[in-house]
Structures are given as C-alpha cells and as structure tokens.
Subunit: 534 residues, 2 copies
C-alpha cells in the first residue's frame, strides 16, 4: 500500500531581517546599477564579481576565537570527515573580498588595479524596522597606487556618477577631508612626555592596530572621531559639550562627554570649522591653525608632520580636481568630514545630497550622505605582508535609489503590460496572435490566463497589473473583423473627473479593425506618456 | 606600551568550489541577462528578487531529520538565547523560493502571476573540475493557471529569447513532451491486479509522494525515466538493452538493466521513437500507439486516460504555437524528452542548441541542452494546502554564455581603456584633463597611476589592460602644444607582420595638436573595429 506520511506545513515567510523585491523595484535598481557601471567603466575600472562565500579566515575581523565565529557574519563549518572543516561565511562588504582577490590574483592583475563591484552583502545583526540583513553595495576601488591622483579620480567619478543618474549639480556635494589632519590634531592633544614624544614621531601610529592609546592615559581617539562625526546633528556647541563634560540631548537624557579640557576641545573644534569660502581659504586656514603657537603641536615631531602630510595631500587633490574643472560647486574640502572610524589612513570623502526632504515627522531636513570612502593602505598586507596602498568608494544603493525616487528620476510604478482579455476561451490562439504582434512591435503585452468566465475579474486583473490598455474581442467583433481597445489610463481619469459631456467627447474605448490593432495601441500609449512601454 | 599581537597570515584563496569572475566575463553575463530580462518583460513577466537566505523549512526537500540539515545546501542555525533558533540556508534554486514568495504574498500578487528571476544559487556539493558550488540561474514561471496557453507561451518566449541573444533559427530547437504520456506508458506496464487497477484510476498517482511503486512489486518508474533520458547518449538499442537486461558501456563496464520484459521495453521505445515529420504526425503516431490492442493499456481505466490527457495537452500547445507562427523549425513535439525526474506533472520541454562544437577530445558533437522546464502543480500546496498550478523554465546561464561565445556573439576580451601615460609626474593635472576630455566624449580612458619612472612599465601596463591607444606627452611635446598618439592594435599587427617599408608607410604613432586629441583618438578607435570602446 502507499505509505502515509503527514508533515506539518512550512511557514511561507522570509527569515527575519530579509525581504523580497518586486517588479519595478528590481528594475529600478538594475537600471541604476547599470548606469553607475557605465561611468565606472568609462573611467577604466574593470568589473569584478567575487564569490558570495569566503573563508572566515580571509574575511578577517571575525577570526574564530570562540567556538562559533559568527559575530556579525553568517558563518558555518564545512563538513569533512575530520570534523575540522573550514569555517565559511557570507561576505559582509565588498572591500574585504577585494583584498583577498587582489592578494590571490595579483600576478595576473594590472598594477594599479581599478575595479568595481556591485552585489548583495550580508550582516548577521539583530533585524529591526528598516534594518535588513541583506543589502546591496556598489564599490569602486583602485589598488596598488599611493598617488593622490587616484583619490582625486574617485571623487571626480563619484560626482560624474551622481550627475549621470540625474542628480543635478547643486543638489549634491562631495566633501573631502584627510584622516592624517585629524590624526595630527588628536596626537597634538596628547600630553607631552617620553612615551608620547616617541609616539608622535610615527605619523601613522594612530591607525596602527598595535597601538593602544589607553596605555598613554589619554582619552580614546575613536571617541573623539565619533563625536566630531555628530557635527551635522548637534552643531558646533553640541560637539564642544560632548568633547568636554557632556550634554543633555533633546529627550533630556544626559550623554557623557569624552573628557577633553576646554582648551583641547576648542582646538579640535577650530579645525573642524576651518572650512573657508573656497578650497584655497580652507587649506590656508588649516595651515595657519596648525602653525599657531598656542596649538603647542610640537612642530619638530611627528604629530605636526602627519598633519602637514595630510594638508599636502588635500592640496594635491584640490589642484588635480581644479585642473579637470571640478570646482567647489561639486567637490569641496571640508575638515568636518570624519567617515569610517579607525579604518582609513589618508583622504576620506563623502557625497551628500543637499536637497531637502520631509522626515518621518514632516519636518524638512537634508537628504544626507549617499556614498563615502577613502584611502586604506593596510588591507592587502594582511595576506601578503606587503603594504599595498588602496583607495575606494562605496555607494549606498538603497539610499541612493530612495533619493532618485524623491527627485522623480524613477517611474514610481512599473509600466504594466497591455492586457488582451479572453471573451471566448476557444479562440485563445487568436488572442495569442494579438499579443505576439504587439510584442513583435516592442510593446509589452500579455493574454489573460486566469479563468475567463467572469469578465469583471479580467478587468480587475488588468487594474492590478497597472495595464495601460485592454484589448477586447468577443464573437461579434471577431465576425466583423474588429477589436475594442480600452484606454485604461484615460478611463480612470474620466471616471474621476469628467462631466458627462467630456466623457462622450473623449471616449476611453474605441473600435478599430483587427489590422489596425498595433498602430492604435501604439498611438494610445504615446498619448499616455512619453515613457510608455512602447 | 603598545601591545604586540602576532597573527598568522590568512590564505588568500576562494573556498573550494567557488570562483571569482573578472571584467569581460562579468559584463558579458550582465549583458546577456539584460537581454533575457527584456524579452521576459515584453511577455508581461515581472521581476522578482527574493532573499538569498531562506529558512530550511521553507526550502523543503532538506527538512531537518538529522542534527545538521545541510544535505545539499549551505545551512546554519540562527543564534538565539534558547539555542533553538531557526535553521537558515542559501537557496539552491529559484523555484523553491518562488513557491514561498507566492504563498506569502498571494493576496497582493495578480493571478496568474508571471515572474522572472535571475541570480546566484548555491549547492553544498563536493566540488570538482567544472563543478562549482555557486552558479547563476535565470527563470521565468507562471503561477496560478492550468491553461496550456501558459505552457505554450513559455516555449514561445524561450524561442524568442534564444533568437534575441543571437542564436539563429535552425541552430536551436525547443522540444516538448508531456509527463502524463510517459506516466500513461509506465502505468500501462504495471501488472493487472486489484491494486494496480485501483492505482491506474488515479492519473496523477505517479508523481504523488505518497505513492511507492515498490509496493506493487514493480520496477522503479524513475529508473525507467532515467533510462529514457539517456537516449541522446546511447541511442535506441542502448535504451532497449538498459530497459531489459543491461548493457556494456564503451569502457567495457557492465551497466545493470532495469529489468523490464522485452515486450514492455519495446512498448516504451516505440513511444519514445514516435516523433514524425511534423507535430500532426507525431501526435497521430502517439494516439495510434496508445490505441493499439497489443499495448494492453486497459482503455477503460486511469492509465489510458492519463496518457490521453497528456496527448490532448500536447495538441493544445501545438495548435496555440502554430497559430502564433512557431513552426517545427523552432518548437517541436518530441516524445523522447524526459527532463526533471519525478518533479514535473504535465508538459516538459527543453531547448537544445543543434550546432556542432568540438568536445574535449576534438570530436564534433552537438552543443546540447541550455534550458528546460515544465509544469509542476504541487509546489505551492506545501505551504497553503491548496494546489496551485504552475509552469516555468530555467536557463542554464553559464552554458548559454559558453554557447554565445562559441557562436562569436560575445567579444572575447573586454575592450581596454585608452591609457594616458605619465612622462612628467608634476604635470599629472594635464594628463587628468586629457582623460576627462576623452571620457566626456564617451571614450573609456585612464591615466597611468603606477610609478611613472620606467616608461617601459607603462607600455607593459597598457598591454595588460588591452589598451587600444596610448597617449604620450613629454616636456617637449607639451612646449609645442602637441601629443603623441600610439595605435597599439596597429602597432602589434605591424610588429608581427610588416616589412620595414610597410612600417614606414603606416606609422602606428602620430603626432597631433593637443586640441585634436579627442578627434584623432576617435578616428583611430573607429578604424580598429566597429565595436571599439567609442
């Protein structure tokens, strides 16, 4: 006898923190990524698609020091007979895999290697409203050159990309700073003693993983950076309070301060606010601040030199961009940019959209950052032991898509297909011929394939498909060699607004001969919108 | 003091069975998928991108009956405090997620729901040469209609897709069969007793998971299907031997037979070989075979009716396709198609490329199957309890890409960028202006960003980048307001073939005024190929 196995039904549910994308959303993203890829390609960047799965070891940062190394990543252990298989994980960004790819294939890759990559990344984080565990990134990086021309190029490319996507000049700004300048400031705040004097002689030390500033009885420099990063939210006074003794936020809660003296906090703030009317003025402000005696920056030692180094890099980038015509209306030096804590080693930049949107409470605010990046010279060395300088940018795909939608650059709904209704089930072949003709003419079209009994259901279906046009041919029309063509967009408009006279004057349904089907549909689609599915 | 932590270097290596795709390969696939999406969209199919991660429960087939349910999939358990978190897994195809999506969102989706999806899937299989654990699929499915018009539509769309990709008519064929016909044949072979009589009354029984034909003391029908599927490899005689007592293969090894009687094997074979000159003849062959008394098919009971049902479905599909002009030069009924063992419940089809390629031993063989699909009416019911009829097709992305390459439909190498060399490190801004101008004209271009000291390295770099043109401007050229433009493609040709006279006549390097840079580069690119990067 046949076996009887009963199983409970599985739940039809995405795992927590994951989501599905439908129709127009998928197409809008694909189109946006295609446009970005075209700009990157024009700049000489090559596509790279690395595997979604990496060894935990290669991803780094999440090395297994516990039994199950899935802190922040989705990880699992390979099955092998020994039970000691490799730990594998889904990539959490596109930069760590790039470092692995470059180290693995460096003999076959050009130097410098310009590459772009786009695709999903995964984070094993607690899901929450608007926080997803799979999302898209879109990166471009240049690996293997320390030239500031690479940094300038990526900023220019970012500017071109935004304009090619339809964000007009004036609605965005790319802001550049340099972590070395920030490092210089922070190192300048260190107490002057034997240890710190040693430390200041090494300008890169602040991003060195072997450095522990706690050993110097000094505040955590990352806390200073995180505080500076809040400038957009809390303003200059807020940053000053947070750098010193602390501050009450809007809800009345007290946020503890970083614990700098008011003099030191003032030094940090004066650097952050050094942006002038143009890049020349900003650079000169920074230089004179750095040279001021009251800064006590120990001009003869490292801290000062690291800061000066950063200034020179900014000057180079600014002059390269100016030569290519990227003025401060597009790219500007702004000492308040922090970006990426403890990760970058030189220039950092971010692209911000400056037009206003309404926040969830209906208050106007700037759209904010949609891309950011900078120079990171230490990633490849993890594999090879040799420093390989690199600089890159990452675009926040979901945020940028939202911005384009905000600017009306994306048709909010997918253009639906022309729907050919089925009046006579036995003449399915006739209806199929109609859609075949429409498709041959490049018009998106389909036959209704549900149960045709109830014609109302067919029109409901057309509505749900956002169909611009419905085609109807019953037995009578068939005998007379004609079809009915229903303009559903016009029909909806008339139903909403029109008087009876207007309704009569502009009928939303016309009868044409069967031969004229394609031409008439095309005409209606053209009349509906220049971006019709034709 | 700074802490000293020493860590061993990670290996720069993809996990076993995974790979990276570079440059031209990524772009070729993106372009191919874009063209396929355009056809699917024109047919009214909507894009869907479901999450890469699903619950193991929703994926099905791999339900946890062992401690670690990763048989065939990459799976891991969610961390939660209870230690009883959900098991999650990477999707192994695009059909199981579609069933989940449809069940989850069915109230918001149109019925029928036409959707397409493209993206990577993952299989936890032993990697081997040419066998990868991450690969692309590209599917289209219509969910929620039992109409054969949906099956016909998908076959027509498959044909259109192949032609739109540049595979000419005659170089491919879409072949259709129906699992019900096969079921009818196999059920007709069952011994005639009380149990099988009961069984034959239920035409769907062969694909019912609750059915165990072993209970009927009969051969495994899947073994029969698997054997029929070898027709292309071993021919009619081979299939006959394998259906009966067994067969020696080319290496001399003996393959055990399925154990049918010669009469029964003959019946199976006569159905398989029933393809006639055209669809009408094939259908009439099948019908008369089915009606023949010697088939002992128990015309009054289920087996016969299931077979007839299948025949009628094939007739409907054929007549719909004929009405739309898809003749047997494109789509043909072929009773030898099996496709997908035990999964499909009605029509099955596959697209085969019929042009010859050389196999790894240099012998000509047909390229073979690049896509397949069929009707599967039971997948959504797993979630909802209600049967939801569905039909779909899946394109083997990697195989189809290989085929297009074979047909010269893909430029084999990525078009490289114009490389502007750096003769004078201090004039980087000048070189950047040159590439900016070239890019504005839509020409892919880049400045050499490596160490410019050794000019030979710059030309080697241009070579590695497959650059069509190099630009050179030293101090002298700069003073005179000119640039040198090197045609690297022509240069390579001349270096290979030319006599000294030809070399002089057609110089591969020309000097033009700085103003004429873009125009001259464009002219050279146009002369190199109509598919130049311009």
């Amino acid at each position: 006898m046949a076996k009887q196995k009963k199983q409970t039904r599985p739940k039809a549910q995405t795992p927590k923190g994951f989501r599905d994308y439908f129709g127009g959303d998928v197409r809008a993203r694909t189109e946006m990524l295609g446009k970005i890829a075209a700009v990157y390609h024009r700049y000489g960047f090559d596509a790279l698609e690395s595997s979604a799965v990496e060894t935990v070891e290669a991803l780094g940062k999440f090395l297994p020091d516990v039994d199950r190394p899935n802190e922040g990543v989705f990880a699992w252990q390979e099955d092998d007979d020994s039970g000691r298989g490799d730990w594998l994980a889904l990539r959490y960004d596109l930069t760590a895999p790039l470092a692995r790819v470059y180290a693995q294939h460096r003999n076959d890759l050009p130097t410098p290697y310009r590459r772009y990559a786009m695709g999903p990344v995964w984070r094993n984080e607690k899901p929450g409203p608007g926080r997803f565990r799979q999302f898209y990134q879109c990166d471009a990086d240049t690996v293997g050159t320390a030239s500031m021309a690479a940094d300038a190029e990526i900023c220019a490319m970012l500017s071109d990309t935004l304009e090619d996507l339809g964000i007009p000049r004036g609605d965005y700004i790319v802001r550049i700073n340099n972590r070395k300048v920030l490092n210089g400031i922070i190192l300048g705040l260190l107490p002057d003693n034997e240890h710190t004097r040693e430390l200041r002689k090494n300008p890169r030390s602040l991003s060195d993983p072997e450095l522990n500033l706690g050993d110097y009885d000094f505040v955590d420099p990352e806390a200073i950076l995180r505080t500076i990063d809040k400038f957009d939210k809390v303003g200059g006074n807020g940053v000053f309070e947070l750098l010193t003794s602390g501050r009450k936020d809007q809800s009345g809660a007290f946020i503890e301060g970083v614990g700098l003296s008011e003099v030191d906090a003032g030094r940090v703030l004066s650097f952050m606010l050094a942006r002038g009317k143009n890049n020349e003025e900003t650079l000169s402000n920074l230089r004179s601040l750095m040279g001021e005696g009251n800064l006590d920056m120990h001009q003869e030692i490292g801290a000062y030199h690291e800061g000066l180094d950063g200034l020179e890099e900014l000057e180079k980038i600014a002059s390269l961009l100016a030569a290519q015509g990227y003025g401060p209306d597009r790219i500007v030096i702004d000492p308040s940019v922090v970006r990426g804590l403890g990760y970058y080693t030189g220039p950092v930049f971010e692209a911000e959209l400056t037009f206003e949107i309404l926040d969830e409470k209906g208050r106007p605010r700037q759209f904010g950052s949609v891309a950011g990046g900078g120079r990171y010279d230490d990633l490849v060395a993890r594999f090879t032991g040799q420093k390989v300088p690199a600089v890159g940018v990452s675009i926040g795909v979901d945020r940028l898509l939202a911005a384009l939608r905000e600017k009306g650059r994306i048709e909010s709904i997918e253009c639906g297909p022309v729907v050919v209704t089925v009046m006579d089930r036995d003449r399915m072949a006739d209806y199929q011929s109609m859609v075949a003709e429409l498709r041959s003419a490049g018009i998106r079209a389909e036959v209704y394939l549900g149960n045709p009994k109830n014609f109302g259901n067919q029109l409901k279906y057309a509505d749900r498909r956002a169909a611009p046009v419905a085609i109807i041919q019953g037995g009578d029309e068939h005998a007379r060699g004609v079809v009915q063509i229903k303009d559903l967009i016009l029909g909806a408009k008339i139903a909403e607004n029109a008087t009876l006279e207007e309704w009569k004057e502009r009928p939303s349904q016309v009868e044409v001969s069967r031969d004229a089907l394609v031409a008439k549909v095309r005409e209606i689609l053209d009349s509906q919108s220049p971006e019709s599915p034709a």
